[in-house]
């Protein structure tokens, strides 16, 4: 039996660069930074910058809908609804041609509803237990974003929430593709979200030396692969991809952006927070993804790197690509879009999945900003301006790595 092929037919996002796909892609190509001073919420904190969502989700969603959702679910819903509208499936479902049982959701969050948890804790301490919101639990639970999308779209197939820290969003793409490959659903909405711009997570990430403490111009602080990098910049937002079996997409004449060719998921078993310095677990994920995709190393024309702007991680990623792809690693065009968006944690792999698909669709790799003095240990062709990708059948890799030693690589292929 031939394998079920999975394609991408809808895209959505809301993030520090823009409230939709078009403005995000414009921002990426222009090399615009979404990082800025966060203002009074950071009073007394060692880090005062971040990448807040460019468009506040409460301005987009109905008030009564928004107030029952944690900010992470608000962002997820905005991105998922854009992807759903973009796919053209709303009309298909309304016409009764897509059964809710054949529609799934795999939507990730790294931390969950941290704003809801902490604001209710403040209420508990200040006003007592009676004032704690009766909807705090369904707002803060980790699967709230996926469940919110399921409710809104009437998705009655598997509704999953992969949680693997900063690899979560990419793992959701891999999981959704698997659900389609296994024949469990015809369509799945995949993605990830995070809304962790709050003093507590900022203090915690800063104390573990993960965040940059660079006091310079905020737009220059996220600098993947540059010798001046000293940690990541926290961003917030969500990315969403509508995945669909090729057969289902072709039958309805859908626009196909790209194909999900394969995925690899591994764990380091090295340290709860530090990446393996040689990137062995990441290399195994990339190797598994390339094998699953059944592509040659030379077919991979582009990589959206995890590249968070940390001293260790960025170098390890270069080692991984060389370990798996050999000399072909010299020829592919690498983009580190976190230089512009900051690090969306559980939303990162999904936003970067959207960016990877757009790069294939437009045959253009977005630039990496703030790369003034490349670390000589990074032996990669990192794009610093938009770069044209080759014509013909090409593939692109989306890498994500997370605390807990999680490694996820997804290979996308250009649409025919």
């Amino acid at each position: 039996m031939s394998r079920i092929r999975v394609v991408v037919t809808g895209l959505g996002t809301t993030n520090p660069l823009g409230g939709d796909v078009a403005s995000t892609w414009d921002g990426l190509l222009a090399g615009r930074s979404g990082i800025r001073q966060l203002g009074e919420i950071t009073e007394g904190l060692p880090v005062t910058i971040g990448g807040p969502a460019a468009v506040d989700p409460t301005e987009v969603l109905e008030r009564v809908v928004a107030r029952r959702l944690d900010r992470s679910s608000q962002l997820a819903l905005v991105a998922a609804l854009e992807a759903w509208a973009d796919s053209g499936l709303a009309a298909v479902k309304e016409a009764g041609d897509l059964d809710g049982e054949r529609l799934g959701v795999a939507f990730a969050s790294g931390i969950g509803g941290v704003h809801t948890l902490l604001s209710n804790h403040e209420v508990l301490l200040e006003k007592g237990p009676r004032r704690v919101s009766p909807i705090a639990v369904p707002m803060l639970m980790a699967n709230a974003p996926a469940a919110t999308i399921s409710l809104k779209l009437g998705a009655r197939g598997p509704v999953n929430t992969p949680v693997s820290a900063c690899a979560s969003g990419n793992e959701a793409i891999a999981l959704a593709a698997d659900q389609i490959r296994l024949g469990r659903v015809d369509v799945a909405v995949a993605g990830g979200t995070e809304a962790a711009i709050h003093p507590l997570p900022i203090a915690a990430f800063a104390n573990m030396m993960a965040l940059s403490k660079n006091p310079g111009d905020p737009t220059t602080v996220s600098r993947p692969f540059d010798t001046g990098r000293d940690g990541f910049v926290l961003g917030e937002g969500a990315g969403a991809l509508v995945l669909e079996s090729l057969e289902h997409a072709q039958a309805r004449g859908a626009r196909i952006y790209a194909e999900v060719l394969g995925a690899g998921i591994t764990a380091d078993a090295h340290d709860i927070a530090q990446p393996d310095p040689e990137g062995r677990g990441g290399a195994r994920a990339i190797r598994a993804a390339v094998r699953d995709a059944d592509v040659a190393a030379a077919d991979i024309a582009h990589v959206n790197a995890h590249a968070t702007s940390t001293p260790q991680g960025d170098v390890a990623e270069s080692l991984m690509l060389h370990a798996v792809l050999g000399s072909a690693a010299d020829d592919l065009v690498v983009s580190a879009t976190k230089s512009m968006t900051g690090h969306l944690l559980g939303g990162a792999g999904a936003l970067e999945g959207v960016a990877t698909v757009l790069a294939l669709h437009h045959r253009t790799a977005p630039p990496t900003i703030n790369l003034d003095d490349k670390d000589e240990r990074v032996e990669l062709d990192v794009a610093t301006s938009p770069r044209q990708l080759p014509s013909g059948d090409i593939a692109a890799l989306n890498n994500s790595f997370g605390f807990g030693g999680a490694n996820v690589a997804v290979v996308f292929g250009s649409a025919g």
């Binding site: 109905e62 008030r63 009564v64 009676r130 004032r131 919101s133 009766p134 909807i135 369904p138």
Partner: protein, 80 residues
């Protein structure tokens, strides 16, 4: 507060919690059947009302507050 003042203030809370237009929140309306206020939203309404009117509405009492009029009458009887 007059009955109408209590109804109007309660209507504002119902609007805030459930998005129901305040003018629809009339004494004869059922929270569940007419206003589509589900059980968790009802708890939110009750907690907001407790703060606003300075009353205590025990959980056992909430199930008896079927209509807006029931709630207004309870608040009138128990407000300090």
């Amino acid at each position: 507060m007059s009955t109408e003042e209590i109804r109007a203030a309660l209507a504002e809370i119902v609007n805030e919690v459930a998005g129901i237009p305040a003018e629809n929140v009339q004494l004869d309306k059922s929270f569940a059947d007419d206003l589509d206020v589900d059980s968790l939203s009802m708890v939110e309404v009750v907690v907001e009302a407790e703060e606003k009117f300075g009353v205590t509405i025990p959980d056992d009492e909430v199930k008896n507050l079927k209509t807006v009029g029931d709630a207004v009458a309870y608040i009138e009887r128990n407000a300090s």
